[in-house]
C-alpha cells in the first residue's frame, strides 16, 4: 500500500476534504458558502430527516403504444430514513471538523473545506466520517477511565472485541488504535471484511455497520502504534479532529485522521511538507509485511543486484537499520516510506 498522501504521518499539509457524514440516502443542506472561513465546531450542513422518491409520471417515455407503468415503479413511495452514525441525527447540524476555508459545495450537500492539517493515514478502518475531540486513552482500566461522549479516542495499542463494545456504549464517535485481530474486527462489524474492502459503493456497504468509526494505523494483528504517531496525536490532544474510516481497495480509499493545525503553528512562512515516496538511503521506512511487519527504520543501503530470500525468490532489496539498532535485509516491495 502506498499512502494516499505519501506518508502515514504528515505533520503539516494542505488538504481539501468534503465534509460529509455519510449515511445511505442521506441528504443535506449546506449552511456555508464557498469562500467562507469556518471553525471546526461550526455547523456547516443540516441533514434531511427523510427522503421521498419522485413519481415517474414526469419522466420521458418511448414513443410507443401506451404502456401503463406499475404504480410506484422506479423506487416506490417508500420513505428513506437517515442512516448516519453518531455524528448527528437527521435534522441535526454537522460541524465542520476542520478549520479552514470552504472551497466548494457538492451535489449531495457536502461542503469541501481546505485546511492546513496534521494527517495520519491508517492501514485499515471502517465507518463514516465523524468529527470529535481527540482524547488519548491513558489507562486500560476501563471501569475507572472517563471518556467524554463525542470524542475520538486514541488507543496506542491493539484493540479487542470487548473494548470495541464498551466504546460503542460510551458515546464516543471514533477510535484510532494500532491494530486488531481479524476475528475481533469482523465480530464487531458483523460483516465480511474482504467483501467490505471490495465494495464499489462504500455508503451502501457501510450502511449497516455499528456507529463507531475506526482507524487502525498498523492493520491486523497485535502491533503497537509507532512512537512517532503517538507523539503527534498526544501533541494535539483536546483538538477537534476529522476521522474517516472508509476503506476500499476497489476505490482506493483508506482511513485518515485530519487535525487542523492551531493558529500559532500556521506561521506566515509556514510550508507544507512535500512527502517524498522514493526509496533512497536515509529514508524512514516501515516494513509492511513478513517477519518484521510493523518495524520502522532507515534505509542504510540499497543493493544493486537482486538478493535471495528465504522463499527462494530473488528481489531487489535494501538493508534497514531498525529503531532498536538491529539490521535486516528486506525486499524493496515490503517497504513503505514514512518520512
Amino acid at each position: 500500500m502506498t499512502y494516499l498522501l505519501g506518508w502515514s504521518v504528515i505533520p503539516q499539509i494542505v488538504v481539501r476534504r468534503e465534509r460529509w457524514p455519510g449515511g445511505y440516502k442521506t441528504r443535506g443542506t449546506p449552511l456555508v458558502y464557498p469562500g467562507q472561513e469556518v471553525q471546526s465546531d461550526q455547523p456547516v450542513i443540516r441533514l434531511y430527516k427523510t427522503e421521498k422518491v419522485e413519481a415517474l409520471d414526469t419522466t420521458p417515455r418511448l414513443v410507443l403504444p401506451s404502456v401503463s407503468m406499475p404504480a410506484g415503479a422506479g423506487g416506490g413511495n417508500r420513505d428513506y430514513g437517515y442512516a448516519g452514525n453518531g455524528n448527528g441525527l437527521a435534522g441535526d447540524t454537522v460541524p465542520a471538523g476542520l478549520v479552514g476555508r470552504v472551497v466548494d459545495i457538492t451535489g449531495r450537500g457536502g461542503v469541501v473545506i481546505e485546511s492546513r492539517v496534521a494527517a495520519v493515514e491508517g492501514t485499515l478502518g471502517a465507518g463514516n466520517q465523524v468529527a470529535g475531540v481527540l482524547t488519548m486513552w491513558r489507562s486500560h482500566a476501563v471501569a475507572t477511565a472517563v471518556i467524554p461522549p463525542g470524542a475520538i479516542l486514541v488507543v496506542p495499542g491493539p484493540l479487542n472485541f470487548t473494548m470495541l463494545r464498551q466504546a460503542l456504549s460510551s458515546g464516543i464517535v471514533g477510535i484510532v488504535a494500532s491494530s486488531i485481530s481479524l476475528r475481533d474486527l469482523e465480530g464487531f462489524l458483523q460483516t465480511d471484511l474482504i467483501s467490505l474492502l471490495n465494495s464499489e459503493d462504500m455508503e451502501l456497504a457501510q450502511a449497516h455497520l455499528p456507529p463507531l468509526t475506526l482507524l487502525f494505523t498498523e492493520g491486523l494483528g497485535t502491533i503497537a502504534m509507532p512512537a512517532r504517531t503517538v507523539n503527534l496525536l498526544s501533541r494535539y490532544q483536546g483538538s477537534v479532529a476529522l476521522l474517516a474510516g472508509a476503506t476500499s481497495v476497489r476505490q482506493g480509499l483508506f482511513p485518515e485522521l485530519l487535525i487542523s493545525l492551531p493558529l500559532k503553528e500556521v506561521q506566515r512562512d509556514w510550508q507544507p511538507v512535500q512527502p517524498e515516496t522514493a526509496l533512497e538511503v536515509d529514508a524512514s521506512v516501515r516494513i509492511c509485511s513478513g517477519e518484521h511487519e510493523g518495524a520502522i527504520g532507515e534505509i542504510e543501503y540499497l543493493f544493486s543486484h537482486e538478493q535471495v530470500f528465504a522463499s527462494g525468490i530473488h528481489a531487489r532489496a535494501a538493508r534497514i537499520r531498525l529503531e532498536d539498532g538491529s539490521r535486516v535485509v528486506v525486499p524493496l516491495t515490503l517497504l513503505e516510506r514514512i518520512g
Partner: protein, 622 residues
C-alpha cells in the same frame, strides 16, 4: 519538471513521428500492481531483449500519474545500460547517435480495472450468454439485469399456481407490489455495481413487446438522476450505451435517453454471428472509459508511437501467432494482480480467450477466496493453516499488493491462490461452453510465474490447475515479454518475431507426459523408454499417483517411447504403445511424467495430502 516544447495532446513534433528505420523499441506494460518496461535492440542483426525494468504502477495517489511508474522502470534500464531514455520527463525519441533514446515507444495497459457493463432489456439466458461471450477476451464485467416486464412474463407469479417453466402465454402478470419491488431491487443492484456503461439487448418480439427496452432506458434515467442528486463523481457525465436491440426502436431509445446517455448502435445481438460488432463497441468503450481516464494518460499519449493496447489484446495476438507459426495448439496463462487470463489458440485458427477481470493474486485475491472457499485453497498447502490465517493473508495482500513473499509459507499460499485463479478462469470458459482441447504448448506469464523461486513450482502450478493430458510442453515467460510482443508486432512485426524466438519463450521447462484413463492404484501406470543422442537408453517405470522427472536438459533431444498399462491412455487409446515420430525436447526441469491421474484427485486425509504435495514439489525441484 520542465514543460514540453509542444502542447500535450497537440500535434507532435516531427521527431515524435514513427521513424522509417527502427533500431530500438521500448515497451511498457502497465499492470494493476507493477509496470514492466523492456528495451529491444539489434544484436548482430536480430532484435533481442537488451534490458528490462520494473516499478510499482503509479496510477493511484499519491503519485496519481501512470507515467511516473513508467519513468521509474525506465530508470532501472538506464542504470543497467548506461543509456538515457528520459529527458525532462519525456521519452527521447528517436534514438540518437550516442545511443540515447529509442525509435519506438509502445504501451500495453491492464491497469484501471475492467469496464463494468450492465446488460439491460429483454435479457434472456441466451442473450446473457452471448453478452458474456462478447466480452470474454476483454477487460469487462457484465452484470445482467432483465427488465421487470421481461422477468414478469418469463416467470409466472406464484399466486397463479403455475410452477412450470416459463410459459409466457399463460403466465399471470406480476402484481404492482411485486413489480415495484423488482424495480427497487434493480436500482439497488445498480448502486452496488456502479456501472460505467450499458448494453441494451432484446428484439421486442417476445410477450413483453418493447417494454423491456423502455424499462432499460427508465433504469438508466433513474440511475443518472440519482447520481446527480448524490453528487457522485460520475454525475453530469453521459453514460455510454451500446444498443444491440430491436433496430426499429433505436431512435425511440435515443429520444428517451436524451442527454443522459450516448447511444452507440451495433448489430442486434441475436447469435454468435453478431458478437464481433458488440465486442468491438465494448472494446472501444473500454478504451474511452477506462484507459483514457487513467491519471497521466494525456502525458503518456504524447509519448506514443502508436495507440496503447490492452494487455489482453496484445497477448491474444501473440498466442494466435504462435499457434499458426508453429502449427500447434497453444494455451497461454497470465496470472496478474487483478486479472487472470487463459487463452487457447489452435493451429486451425480456433481461438478461445477468457479474461477474468475480477480474479488475481494481488488486490483481487479476495475474490478468489470468495468464489472457491477456504478448502480449495488450503488443499494445495503442505502445511496446516486456519481459515483466519488465510483470510489475514488475503487482507494483507489486498492492502499491500506489491509485497513479495519473502518467506516460503507466504510463497506457497500465493501459489495456491494462483492455481485457483487459473481454475476459476477455466470454469468461466466452460460456462461459455468452451471445451478446452488438448494443447501442445502451455505458456505461462505474469508476476507469480516470473518471480517463482524455482522452475518446478511453476510447472506444478500449471499441471495442477490446467490438468493437461497426453503430451505437452511447458514454457515459462520469466521476463514477462509475451504480453508485450503482440503490441510490438503492430509496429515492428519482425522485431516481435525475433524477440519471441530469441528471448521470450526460452525458459522451456520441459516436455510433459500425462497419462490418463484408469490408472491402477499402487501399480506401474506407464513405462517410459528414452533414447539419447549418444545412444544411451533409459527405462523408467512410473507408479500411479506419482510424478517422475527424467533427465533431459535444455537444448537436448531424445526419442521417446511410452508403454502405458492396459487401462492407461497417453493419447492413442488405452494400453496403446506410443513412439514419438520426432525427438522430444528437454528443458530446465527435464522430461516430466505426471501419472497422478486426470482429473487430479488429492488425498482426502490431511497428512497424506500434505506429504504427497511435498513429495511432488521435491521431485520437480520446487
Amino acid at each position: 519538471m520542465q514543460t514540453l516544447s509542444h502542447v500535450e495532446g497537440g500535434p507532435k513534433p516531427a521527431s515524435s513521428q514513427k521513424p522509417t528505420v527502427i533500431n530500438s523499441i521500448l515497451v511498457a506494460d502497465c499492470g494493476t500492481v507493477f509496470t514492466k518496461v523492456s528495451l529491444f535492440g539489434l544484436v548482430e542483426g536480430q532484435f533481442r531483449l537488451m534490458a528490462r525494468g520494473e516499478a510499482p504502477t503509479t496510477a493511484a495517489p499519491p503519485q496519481g500519474d501512470i507515467t511516473k511508474g513508467i519513468v521509474q522502470a525506465i530508470e532501472n534500464i538506464e542504470f543497467v545500460t548506461g543509456r538515457r531514455f528520459i529527458s525532462q520527463g519525456h521519452i527521447i525519441t528517436p534514438e540518437e547517435a550516442d545511443g540515447d533514446g529509442v525509435d519506438i515507444f509502445i504501451t500495453t495497459i491492464s491497469a484501471g480495472g475492467p469496464i463494468r457493463l450492465m446488460v439491460l432489456g429483454a435479457v434472456s439466458p441466451a442473450l446473457e450468454e452471448l453478452a458474456d461471450q462478447a466480452v470474454s477476451g476483454l477487460y469487462a464485467e457484465t452484470h445482467p439485469l432483465a427488465a421487470p416486464s421481461y422477468a414478469a412474463h418469463s416467470q409466472p407469479s406464484a399466486s397463479s399456481g403455475n410452477t412450470a417453466a416459463p410459459q409466457a402465454a399463460n403466465a399471470s402478470p406480476w402484481t404492482p407490489e411485486r413489480t415495484a419491488l423488482e424495480w427497487e431491487r434493480q436500482l439497488e443492484r445498480i448502486r452496488e455495481i456502479q456501472p460505467q456503461a450499458a448494453l441494451i439487448v432484446g428484439l421486442a418480439d417476445g410477450p413483453a413487446g418493447p417494454h423491456p427496452l423502455q424499462e432499460a432506458c427508465q433504469l438508466l434515467l433513474n440511475m443518472t438522476k440519482e447520481r446527480a442528486e448524490k453528487g457522485v463523481p460520475q454525475a453530469g457525465k453521459r453514460i455510454s450505451v451500446v444498443y444491440a436491440g430491436a433496430p426499429q426502436y433505436v431512435e425511440a431509445v435515443r429520444h428517451m435517453l436524451g442527454n443522459a446517455a450516448e447511444v452507440i448502435r451495433v448489430e442486434p445481438l441475436i447469435s454468435q454471428a453478431q458478437l464481433g460488432s458488440t465486442s468491438t463497441a465494448i472494446n472501444n468503450l473500454y478504451n474511452a472509459e477506462v484507459i483514457q481516464r487513467i491519471p497521466g494518460y494525456n502525458t503518456l499519449q504524447s509519448w506514443f508511437s502508436s495507440t496503447p493496447v490492452a494487455t489482453a489484446t496484445s497477448l491474444s495476438s501473440l498466442v494466435r501467432f504462435l499457434a499458426q507459426h508453429y502449427a500447434m495448439n497453444v494455451t497461454a496463462v497470465d496470472v496478474g494482480g487483478a486479472t487472470t487470463t487463459v487463452m487457447f489458440a489452435g493451429e486451425q485458427g480456433e481461438f478461445m480467450p477468457v479474461v477474468h477481470s475480477g480474479v488475481g493474486v494481488g488486490p483481487n485475491v479476495g475474490e478468489i477466496l470468495q468464489q472457491v472457499g477456504f478448502q480449495r485453497i488450503a488443499r494445495w498447502l503442505p502445511f496446516d493453516i486456519t481459515e483466519e490465517e488465510l483470510r489475514e493473508y488475503v487482507l494483507n495482500c489486498m492492502l499491500h499488493p506489491h509485497v513479495t513473499p519473502a518467506q516460503m509459507r507466504e510463497l506457497q499460499i500465493a501459489q495456491a491462490f494462483a492455481r485457483e485463479a487459473i481454475s476459476v478462469a477455466l470454469e468461466e470458459g466452460r460456462r461459455h461452453k468452451f471445451a478446452w482441447p488438448d494443447t501442445d504448448l502451455i505458456l505461462a506469464t505474469g508476476g507469480i510465474f516470473a518471480h517463482t523461486a524455482r522452475n518446478g513450482q511453476a510447472a506444478l502450478i500449471l499441471l495442477d490447475s490446467l490438468q493437461p493430458k497426453g503430451v505437452t510442453s511447458l514454457v515459462l515467460d520469466r521476463t514477462m515479454l509475451v504480453s508485450q510482443l503482440g503490441a510490438v508486432a503492430t509496429v515492428a512485426p519482425v522485431a516481435a518475431v525475433q524477440v519471441n524466438e530469441n528471448d521470450a519463450v526460452t525458459h522451456r521447462l520441459g516436455t510433459c507426459v500425462i497419462p490418463f484413463g484408469n490408472l491402477p492404484s499402487g501399480q506401474v501406470a506407464l513405462r517410459v523408454g528414452i533414447e539419447y543422442h549418444n545412444g544411451r537408453q533409459l527405462s523408467v517405470d512410473v507408479m500411479s499417483g506419482s510424478i517422475e522427472v527424467i533427465p533431459l536438459r535444455l537444448n537436448e533431444q531424445a526419442l521417446l517411447t511410452l508403454y502405458p498399462a492396459p487401462t492407461v491412455d497417453v493419447g492413442l487409446g488405452p494400453g496403446e504403445r506410443a513412439r514419438a515420430a520426432e525427438e522430444i525436447d528437454g528443458g530446465l526441469i527435464g522430461l516430466i511424467i505426471d501419472a497422478r491421474g486426470r482429473p487430479l484427485v488429492l488425498p482426502e486425509e490431511r497428512r497424506e495430502r500434505q506429504a504427497r504435495l511435498l513429495q511432488w514439489m521435491q521431485v520437480l525441484g520446487g
